[in-house]
Amino acid sequence: MSASQWRKAMNSGAGRTAWPRTAASTAPRMPAHGSARPAAAAGRATDRARWLRWLAARVRVRHVVVLAAALIYPLVATPFFTFQVGAQALTLGLIALSLTFLAGYGGMVSLAQMTVAGIAGYMYAIFATSGTDISLKWPWWFAVLLALVIATVCGTLIGWFSVRTEGIYTIMITLAIGVAFFYLVQQNYSLFNGFQGFQSVKSPVVFGRDVRDPVPFYYLALFWALAGYFGVQYLLRTPFGVALQGIRDNPRRMAALGFHVTAHRVAAYAVAGLIAAVGGVLFVWYNGLVSPGSVGTSWLINILVIAVLGGMRHPIGPFIGAVIFVLLQNFAVDLVDRERFNLLIGGVFLIIVLFSPDGILGWWAGGVARLRARSAQGRLGRRVGVERTVSPTQP
């Protein structure tokens, strides 16, 4: 797609598909085009009405419940639950969200998302203040900015590399890149401080409060998690997001339609890189340190586990997966030995992959569909009697 075509698509398509103007709400306006301009005041009133109607149509009870629960959570939970469970789950969920976006909507399973997050963490530690002399002690906001930019660029480069391959090869290449970065930071002492990494990384102090205190950090993580969630939701309905999903389903057909497949894929990596970078900065604040261990193979795979556990069908999946992961991580001690956490998480992962490839969301969707089918069948049976329709897709 050329630049001008792209702009045209953005201008014409974005307004229609991305913004919540449904066909029902635009239809009544159509005759107004022919006649003289209607009064602006009336337009504003209908605007508000349309907004409300849109909200009523899209927002369900479960959305309100989840949002309210997430907002009140730190008020009722202990600091441990707020910080170790809540905030960590939100941070990890944000990093895993970048993978869900890539894998679920772009069809590219990248194991290097934790690497991108790790690059952001390392960059923050290098530019801001930590217990090591390498750190440049620049102001935190500048360090954050640099970290985000550098990590996003690295994520894009990783994407640019790995889109040369497809499907299963992408996993191998991104894994190789991720592990190579792990070995690099482990061996390099001049820049990454080798095996030690950066200990006691200072988190910013805003309005006299350390961001790392449980409640502020929880709300910060919640804010970025919501931003990531709604950002991805929005992006999926833009022409870019729709084209990306088209490319996931059939790259050849999309190429034949004139879409630049590679450019879309690399752009998806850039977006995912930014999401992972934000998560990475949050994660380094959460941990207070960044070391080769935080970008090791186990973490690369943990992010995949989180995304797959939750399910890649919907951006909420990684957050569900992250909550389960963090709960298992913290309470593996009670279930099994502390040391055997990997066995437990591996087992849960295996069960999910074997029995529900779409993760917890797959179970949820399957359960809902079954319930609906049963109730519909019951109604049908009562009304029509014995006769039952057989859909052509049924074997």
Binding site: V109, F161, R164, T165, G167, I168, Y169, I171, M172, I173, L175, A176, I177, V179, A180, Y183, L184, Q187, N188, Y189, S190, T297, S298, I301, L304, V305, V308, E339, R340, N342, L343, I345, G346, G347, F349, L350, V353, L354, P357
Partner: protein, 313 residues
Amino acid sequence: MTRRRWIWVAVLGAPLAAFTVWGLADNAKLFLTTALNGLTLAALYFLVASGFTLVFGLMRNVNLAHGSLYLLGAYVGYVVGDKTGSWLLAVAAGFASAALSGLILQVAVFRFMQGQDLRQTLVTIALSIMLADVLLWIFGGEIYTFDPPRVIYGRTPLPIVQVYPTYRLVLLAMSAAIGVLLWLFLNRTRVGMMIRAGVDDRGMLAAAGVNVQRVFAITFAIGAGLAGFAGVVGGTALSIAPGEDTRYQLASLVVVIVGGMGSVVGAAIGAVLIGVAEQFGLAYAPTYSVVFTFVIMALVLAFRPQGVLGRRG
């Protein structure tokens, strides 16, 4: 075409030739020792990666538990060697245990998810996490080493290098022998023919009346067995410890990406490139040795995404 090729040879070969001349002139002993180290490492990488590439080529299954099979074979070999005192039995046990695990994996798990590449890969990831943890549970974090027979465990005098561990030379020879055997097996036997046919077109092979499932099982067993074999052989040259699984997993990934998926000869080329580059990196630029591996991979990906001997499709 030929002219372009010459340009490439010049671009890549000239710096390498210059480096070789400088290395030989500067410190011939270091240079040759490094080269030998690189080759023995390459031999080890080849043993691990050939099984990986064989399984991938036939079943399109990225077996990310391949490194775990390496470690499993190594530990089982250690236990058997410890009990019987025979190194050869340890090698056999390493091969057999890994081959059996591979067989079980294929028959009990992967057979039921044919064609679902991603799901198979996720299953192997899950298995590798669990296997690594179980092995850590049983064997702890200690480092184990083998006692090979005295005949192959001395030093061999060589020109310029002076002395070199005999075992590493034996490893080099063993790896070459395995490579030749594998080539003969694939190119001169009936089963090998079936495997090659399966790499090209699984559906057609099944339609020709071959029991594809059996071919898959045999291939998986051989591939896994090679990993277990490499576990004992490599564990003797270096040592066995937790974390080695990831290392060899990464090595076989990179080797196969460079050499081309599904090609045993490609795996050999990739192994030599990566092994030699890694050792030279360690000897001449210690903190950046990983970067060399990565640069090779990046170059191959940029100019020949399917790998040196890979085929598109």
